[in-house]
Subunit: 414 residues, 2 copies
């Protein structure tokens, strides 16, 4: 595999991707949705090879489930592509335009990023989803999926490339690293002359490796050690269902709550309402001394617990003396993803919303809403927990940049 050639081709293709009109892009996406359905038996056959290898390698049932493709799942991918076709095209939007005293008319126009690298793990649906979003936003994409699903990914990319050819569109707008040797990942993330951004979509280890070693700019998507703070003026009839939802509605997701912070003035009443309700659902509770005193069956919490994203039926609990202490604790231990205050106190809510340094800060709602679809973006490429470029759920706009276009009539600088 000639990675340099692949990157060079992707960069050339990105110029063409940027010029595609909205209708052209939407027609290609709708054709892809049809072609995916039509090719489903080929895709499933390729996926079977991956699944058999994974079984032989002793993959866990949960991961096997994510890896396995069915007719229904391919239909789901096609539906996703159709939805992306229906979203507004972000490209070409002029965010603002103004005229300078010298008559220069300056506008800031939304344009594609160029070449986007996406590095992901073992869910083949990311292949189709990543193409749909990067293509709709006028970019070329280089995919590097996990070795576990390489046959599935190659089959999916084949359908995408065939669709592009069929629509008269340059097929190098999408490319995939056919060789999943890790050395190519390390080379890819140093190709800053060719790639404009790398988005790792996967676990904390992958994200850390990429962001520590890349020279290409990286958008870090996120681990979420999300907190819910129960203020002294909390309405417990809101607090209990919100906490149960945020912790238990889905366990393995980054916007699930992992830690509770409780104001001491309400600790006894709040803990007695919340903790047994969590324990009744099989959730292990790790708490500080006061929590252990008030409730039964509490595992003592360590400092490490407060910094842990469990992604499991475990939650840490800490009692604090004040909202200031709650905010300091959360800003110290959180990963900057999503946090929520439960309070009827106007000033407490405003302080929490202002001072918590996270991508999404809620008052009186579950952290589970941090999601591109729930926010109304119609799509999601991931949730950024970094501060540069995009923060929080990323829709199509996060895959764009801007340029200034300037209309003059002979102006020179005095």
């Amino acid at each position: 595999m000639d990675l340099l050639q692949l990157c060079t081709d992707a960069k050339s293709a990105s110029r063409l991707a940027a010029k595609l009109g909205t209708n052209e892009k939407n027609e290609a996406l709708l054709a892809l949705a049809k072609n995916l359905a039509a090719a489903s038996s080929d895709i499933i056959a390729a996926n079977k090879v991956d699944v058999e290898e994974a079984v032989a390698n002793g993959m866990s049932q949960a991961l096997l489930d994510r890896l396995t493709l069915t007719e229904a799942r391919i239909e789901g991918m096609a539906e996703g592509v159709t939805q992306v076709a229906s979203l507004p095209d972000p490209i070409g939007e002029v965010l603002s335009m103004w005229t300078r005293p010298n008559g220069l008319k300056i506008g800031q126009q939304r344009v594609p990023l160029g070449v986007i690298g996406i590095i992901y793990e073992s869910r083949p649906n990311v292949t189709v989803d990543s193409f749909a979003l990067t293509f709709k936003s006028g970019n070329a994409v280089i995919l590097r999926g996990g070795s576990d699903c390489i046959h599935s990914n190659l089959a999916l990319v084949k359908v995408i490339k065939e669709t592009l050819r069929q629509c008269g569109i340059e097929e190098n707008i999408i490319s995939i690293l056919e060789d999943t040797d890790r050395k190519y990942v390390n080379e890819l993330i140093r190709m800053d002359d060719y790639l404009d951004v790398i988005i790792p979509r996967g676990g904390a280890g992958l994200i850390r490796n990429v962001s520590q070693n890349a020279s290409v700019p990286v958008i870090r998507t996120g681990t979420g050690n999300c907190h819910i703070y129960v203020d002294k003026d909390a309405d417990l009839t809101k607090a209990v269902p919100i906490i149960l939802n945020a912790k238990l509605q889905r366990l393995g997701v980054c916007n699930a709550a992992e830690s509770l912070v409780i104001h001491k003035d309400v600790a006894e009443e709040a803990l007695k309402a919340i903790i047994p309700a969590l324990q009744a659902e099989g959730c292990e509770v790790r708490g500080d001394a006061l929590v252990q005193e008030i409730c039964a069956n509490i595992v003592p919490a360590t400092e490490e617990d407060y910094g842990t994203e469990y992604l499991a039926k475990i939650i840490s609990v800490k009692v604090v003396d004040s909202i200031d202490q709650a905010i300091a604790h959360i800003n110290k231990f959180s990963t900057g993803h999503s946090e929520s205050i439960i309070s009827e106190n106007y000033t407490a809510v405003q302080q929490f919303l202002n001072e918590i340094d996270s991508a999404a800060v809620y008052a009186n709602a579950s952290t589970r809403f941090t999601d591109g679809f729930e926010f109304g973006f119609g799509a999601e490429i991931g949730i950024s927990t970094q501060k540069l470029h995009a923060r929080g759920p990323m829709g199509l706009n996060a895959l764009t940049t801007t340029k200034y276009i300037i209309y003059g009539n002979g102006q020179v600088r005095p």
Copy 2:
């Protein structure tokens, strides 16, 4: 010097910086302007040590001039600070807010980045300027200036810290690496747990080193190999003054033109009007075969010339067969900074503005306008030639990020 402690203190201070009100920030900036003027003899004495060492080390006259501080230059710094005080505060702006069908009210609010690292070379005015801009936008800043101006920088930071104390504001909002050993730069750019962004302000070597080795996200500011394309429908009465201005009005700046691209249909007339005018100003012209044929005293241009940012009285010239070829040439050789088309043809102008992949794309104006002040931002921290986060001239908004604030009333995710 304990760099880890310095970064830890800066991160704590950034929480306080983010909470400062607009009036508090403006009052501190106005106090700083006064204090700089009052301390000018101390600052000049410190600067004298740097200048004497620089003379002893054989620094060039041009660099010595950039290094030397005078009463007038310190007054200039103070004026700059006063201007920043008068700019609107970007923090707290809610860019948009909407209500979801479930009643969640979601707003995207502008907030500070946090801790900004600025690495720069031998102009001490960058010290004050960087503080004013990062402070006004609610951030903490860690400065690392060149060893050439360390005494000047320390004197300036002393005045800034005294001003903050006098205003009752945490002084660790600004810190400077007192030891200019390069090993600390290499450590600083890996402090991704503490710094939110690094902005290198200086030459291409500095920027390359930082962006290749940082784990902290970097905003690359720019080298500019800027092009002017003279279309077949160019009005030469506009082209000649624009080209002279873009090439010669100031030589050592990133928005100066370094290369001309001329449509063959107008080559003879255009070259005869443009080239002698440039040569009359002492500008060396390096051209392809056709340019050599039409004009006298042309140095043959190599491929390397087309990729060179001269920052000197030299310009490269290439004749092309079509606007498509012009765009391909520019997108190949440009650094993505600023390019301009000279044309009266509507379609050619629109094509150029759409297809040139640079931060600022002009029609019929000098590239020298790519500048935060000329764009009307009232300030400039640099000109980004990368695509992530900020592209083109960066004002105060480039030193901010956003977070989502969400007002609920008990919502849980179904």
